[in-house]
């Protein structure tokens, strides 16, 4: 994420090799690059696909098309591949920020503290957005059974890491995200794609 590792390091090659293995076995839908996350969600909803790798917000989408949590869709954690490694969950965090030139920074800070610590507000916030609240003090029963599982996964995790495209500078994320779709288009070229990505990201880190 910070440029200290390269995209063609053995660890990345191993991870992409595992991914390629899944593609080669036919576990992905055809033309995966043609689908955005709602297309993928629709395929799961219709039964054309068994699962999709997506954030908790997809539950809001499925609830909106009248799917029932646990009955029509469910959640499981990404299986552990290498035993003994700490279990990490991945996700973005919606943050509130105060402008550097704010007229009343102390007042703004107090307000933000109130918004994130008041369980009533956080309950409304989480239920209206279909997301998990960062405040662990709120009553878990406000979540659907599927979201309760997701909350438990986050609570039990050894580490919480920010998702890929938001953890690395935007020019590097553009190169990396393009690499994923290039790989899905032709997984047999994985080594050449990683070499090219390593070269392109080196340049992107200097932008």
């Amino acid at each position: 994420m910070d440029g200290s590792a390269s995209y063609n390091d053995p660890e990345v090659q191993k991870a992409m090799g595992l991914w390629k293995d899944l593609v080669d076995k036919g576990y992905f839908v055809a033309n995966a690059n043609a689908d955005d996350w709602t297309d993928a969600g629709d395929k799961v909803a219709r039964g054309d696909a068994a699962m999709t790798l997506m954030g908790t917000w997809i539950t809001g989408y499925w609830n909106g098309i009248d799917l029932k949590p646990e009955t029509d869709y469910n959640f499981f954690e990404f299986p552990q591949i290498t035993e003994g490694l700490p279990n990490a969950v991945v996700g973005p965090v919606d943050g509130f920020v105060i402008s550097a030139n704010a007229a009343n920074p102390e007042g703004a800070e107090k307000f933000l503290n109130f918004v994130v610590s008041d369980t009533g507000i956080q309950t409304k916030w989480a239920s209206s957005r279909g997301a998990l609240s960062a405040n662990v003090g709120i009553d878990p029963s406000i979540y659907t059974p599927v979201m309760q599982k997701a909350a438990k996964a986050v609570a039990d995790a050894d580490a919480f890491v920010f998702n890929y495209d938001l953890s690395t500078p935007p020019p590097v994320a553009e190169v990396g995200l393009s690499m994923f779709s290039r790989f899905m288009d032709d997984p047999s070229k994985v080594d050449a794609i990683l070499d090219q990505t390593a070269e392109d990201t080196k340049k992107a880190f200097t932008e």
């Binding site: 055809a30 033309n31 690059n33 043609a34 935007p170 020019p171 553009e174 393009s178 779709s181 290039r182 288009d185 932008e207």
Partner: protein, 293 residues
């Protein structure tokens, strides 16, 4: 009296000139200014970096990829609607049954916004149930699931087809108007002299349609230079930059990578290219005007 008229002219011109300055001149000048900076698009802190954004263009392979795609886009976006529009106009002018109905149908897409056209064609190209694959399947007896917009070899061509579908109607209507100005007796003389259809077309009709061609090409050149929305809607420049044009590349660098200074440098290049093309075009237009009055 003359002086008073001049004052009124200035008064009436002040409002449109003011709007033009705010919406065109000011952003244009800003782009030139920011192209010499490393501004990220929102911070107050940025520095002047001289020509380094322009120097970077030479080593940016995505810029060259976008420049090639822009050239392909411009040639196709001008040629295809022009030729199809001419063909349709000749067909409809030959008094085929239902001509006026076809004219309305072919003209209709130009009334739609690029966003609507893009969405219609996304559905047509949809791999599993899109009209194109279903039609190919019906003809060949197979079940194709080709992802036209998600494959690098077909993405740009697929958007060009959607663009041509929208803009052919306009060319057709202009050519139809041009065809009405060709004297009937001239065509009758050709028939009496035994000229074939192809000879009549090549020697009489197409040369006499030159003023209409000038208008059609001018509109298509200007529209193709502005052609950003349909690419943004249909492919966003992807997959992996295969349908990136200079306008898309500028947008991605400025608003996705937050390299506003570099994006501004690309916009300056695009502006110079557009200005050159339009300059050459107007020079040629003047020559045509002198011949045809």
């Amino acid at each position: 009296m003359e002086r008073e008229t001049g004052v009124w002219r200035l008064v009436f011109l002040a409002l449109p000139l003011g709007v033009f300055t705010v919406l065109v001149i000011w952003p244009l000048a800003s782009s030139f200014y920011y192209s010499f900076t490393n501004w990220n698009g929102f911070s107050d802190n940025f520095e002047f970096v001289g020509f380094s954004n322009f120097n970077k263009l030479w080593t940016d392979k995505l810029f060259f990829n976008a420049a090639v795609n822009t050239a392909i886009w411009m040639v196709a976006a001008v040629l295809i609607p022009t030729l199809l529009g001419l063909g349709l106009a000749l067909l409809i002018d030959s008094r085929i049954p239902g001509g006026p109905v076809f004219k309305s149908i072919f003209y209709f897409p130009i009334c739609l916004s690029a966003v609507v056209v893009g969405q219609i064609w996304i559905w047509i190209y949809q791999p599993d149930w899109g009209l194109l694959n279903v039609a190919i399947g019906a003809v060949t007896g197979s079940s194709p699931d080709f992802a036209w917009l998600a494959k690098p070899d077909t993405a740009l061509g697929s958007v060009i087809a959607a663009w041509a579908w929208q803009h052919t109607g306009l060319a057709m209507v202009i050519y139809l108007a041009g065809l009405t100005s060709i004297p009937e007796d001239l065509l009758e003389v050709c028939e009496i002299e035994g000229a074939s259809t192809w000879q009549r077309l090549r020697v009489v009709i197409i040369p006499l349609l030159t003023p209409a061609t000038v208008v059609v090409v001018a509109l298509n050149v200007i529209n193709s230079l502005k052609g950003f929305e349909i690419l943004y809607i249909m492919t966003g420049g992807g997959p992996f930059n295969s349908s990136d044009t200079l306008a898309m590349h500028m947008y991605n660098e400025s608003f996705k990578k937050y390299l506003m200074g570099y994006g501004s440098a690309i916009s300056v290049v695009l502006f110079i290219v557009a200005l050159t093309i339009i300059g050459i075009y107007f020079r040629e237009l003047k020559k045509v005007d002198e011949i045809y009055g």
